[in-house]
């Protein structure tokens, strides 16, 4: 346990020692800020037809940002250790492979949550500065954040697995991006295909519509289970990937 905490702390610290993390965070906040100002301008025109939180979490800008930022957060995790050779000192310390994988995942997730934290300010602004209308419901808000974390977990674990595949950060990022795009677009299949299987498939996989559900305040156990089990599967695959370290 203490080894896990030591590793987790190191992973999180490493984010703050690299310029990429700051760039990612600034980029994310700029995009979220722009979405928020859009949201405010919609609200200013009177009662909106859509849920407020849907605007924040369901925006196409938000999704494009996520798809680009997640690979940037995860590409370094194992690739850099493999490139520099520190994987050898890391894996020969008296810690289990699973602890290393979990610590790296926890580090990435912590940074991801940290990245989201400033957006709580938007909620604060909505509550205290919109005098003449009802404040947003806490339900959709909590749902939106829960969705962001669940989806983030799954995508981060995909990124973690991809970075265990190669010693090249760029390749790791590209594979992660490709996998995420495929998953995401499969979720949008029902926009282009009318077949029943396509509808079912996209209902199960669509992070986009899951996020709309979450930010409407609806908690469906199916997507929650999908993201949790998906994350667990990816982490397990990463551990197995490390155990088969016949790489040179």
């Amino acid at each position: 346990m203490s080894a896990f905490l030591t590793l987790w702390r190191k992973e999180l610290t490493t984010y703050f020692l690299s310029p990429i993390a700051y760039i990612v965070m600034i980029f994310f906040l700029v995009v979220m800020g722009a979405i928020f100002s859009l949201l405010v301008s919609v609200l200013a025109e009177g009662p909106a037809g859509v849920t407020v939180m849907n605007l924040l979490f369901g925006s196409p800008f938000f999704w494009m940002t996520m798809l680009v930022l997640i690979p940037l957060l995860t590409m370094r995790l194992f690739s850099e250790e493999k490139r520099s050779g520190t994987i050898e000192t890391l894996m020969t310390a008296p810690v289990s492979d699973a602890a290393v994988v979990l610590a790296k995942f926890a580090g990435a997730l912590s940074f991801y949550i940290f990245m989201w934290a400033p957006t709580a300010l938007y909620i604060f602004i909505l509550y205290y500065f919109s005098a003449d209308m009802a404040p947003p419901d806490p339900g959709p808000m909590a749902g939106g954040y829960l969705g962001a974390i669940l989806i983030g977990m799954f995508y981060l674990s995909i990124g973690l697995f991809c970075s265990a595949l190669t010693s090249n950060q760029i390749i790791s990022a590209i594979i992660t991006f490709a996998v995420m795009i495929v998953l995401f677009l499969t979720g949008l299949l029902d926009y282009v295909a009318n077949a029943e299987w396509a509808q079912t498939l996209s209902a199960h996989l669509s992070s986009y519509s899951h996020m709309l559900e979450f930010s409407r305040g609806t908690l469906d156990s199916r997507p929650i289970l999908y993201y949790l089990s998906g994350t667990a599967a990816m982490l397990f695959a990463t551990v197995k990937m490390l155990e088969a370290r016949n790489w040179k």
Binding site: S2, A3, T6, L7, K10, T14, L17, S18, S84, G85, T86, I87, E88, T89, M91, T92, A93, P94, V95, S96, R245, N246, K248
Partner: protein, 315 residues
């Protein structure tokens, strides 16, 4: 401290380590010597618990590196080839991270880090970012890291590679000074390094151990035949015949076209032919300018063991 029995590592289409067995006792400094690609690093990685072996058993202090890996790892300080470090961290930060990871208790953390920094001479760079350090300093940071949890065994893979001569000397004397508390297994392809630091040598080639002995004894084994060099002024053909006639001499080569000829003799080392050689030359009225017998170097042993296909000196 180390027991290795029938250890084998196969990669697809290639055998990196081929059924090797050896022991290293507590307190020994053992040099792992072999040409590049002989299987040194692979063996060390298996011992350190990084790679799984295809077959055979390796034990560190009685713990199997495959099944009781964490117990074995706790007792090993491993410095991989090229000394990988986290470049973005500061030296102190890195040592603290590694010490915690290796289970050094919180109360001892400061004292341990202070001690290894003192020992490795990196007190003055504690606050520097590792990426900005010179190769020599980095190597010492790596050594300090491998020592920080007071391991019984140090496994050092090419600890002096890529250093300049001064740095090499520093790292070597550091390693020698560590011998009182630790058992050390170090690999190198530099022969003089083994002669200087190790009490025992394991020569490995193509994944097999082809010799295991002290540097001195290995040298003596080679010394069945000695090489003697003599420079003589006299009629070349006559001198050549006279030298060939000496008892114990098996082969004579002559080179040199001017008045002085340089003769290289292969002779039995047991009966020292130098005295007889001098007498022959003196009685014939020729002149002798130089006479010396070469001691076989570890280099000769190494070359003869790893290049020829002859069985070599197995132990």
């Amino acid at each position: 401290m180390i027991e290795v029995a029938h250890l084998t590592k196969r990669y697809p289409g290639r055998v990196a380590v081929d059924d090797i067995s050896f022991r290293v006792n507590a307190g020994e400094i053992v040099g792992f010597l072999g040409p590049n690609g002989a299987g040194k690093s692979t063996t060390m990685r298996i011992l350190a618990g990084y790679l799984p072996a295809t077959g055979g058993i390796a034990r560190i202090a009685g713990f199997d590196v495959a099944t009781e890996s964490n117990e074995a790892r706790r007792r090993i300080g491993y410095l991989p080839e090229n000394c990988p470090l986290y470049g973005e961290m500061r030296v102190d930060e890195y040592l603290r991270f590694r010490a915690r990871l290796k289970g050094v208790p919180h109360s001892k953390l400061k004292a341990r880090i202070g001690e290894v920094k003192e020992r490795c001479g990196i007190n003055d760079v504690g606050n520097r970012i590792i990426a900005h350090l010179s190769k020599g300093y980095r190597q010492r940071v790596g050594l300090a890291e491998s020592l920080v949890h007071e391991p019984e065994l140090l496994i050092l893979d090419e600890p002096t590679i890529g250093l300049d001569p001064n740095q090499i000397r520093l790292v070597r004397s550091l390693i020698t000074s560590l011998a009182d508390k630790h058992t050390i297994l170090l690999s190198t392809h530099i022969l003089s390094e083994v002669e200087m630091t190790c009490r025992r040598v394991l020569i490995i080639d193509k994944g097999r151990i082809i010799a295991s002995d002290t540097p001195d004894r290995l040298r003596r084994r080679m010394e069945g035949e000695a090489t003697i060099t003599a420079e003589v002024r006299g009629p070349q053909a006559d001198v050549l015949n006279a030298l060939r006639a000496l008892p114990g001499v098996s082969e004579v080569l002559a080179e040199g076209a001017d008045a002085w000829t340089r003769f290289t003799l292969r002779a039995n080392r047991e009966q020292d032919v130098r005295a007889a050689l001098f007498e022959t030359i003196a009685t014939n009225g020729w002149v002798l300018r130089e006479l010396h017998q070469e001691a076989a170097t570890l280099e000769d042993i190494f070359v003869s063991l790893t290049q020829a296909d002859k069985p070599g000196v197995r132990s």
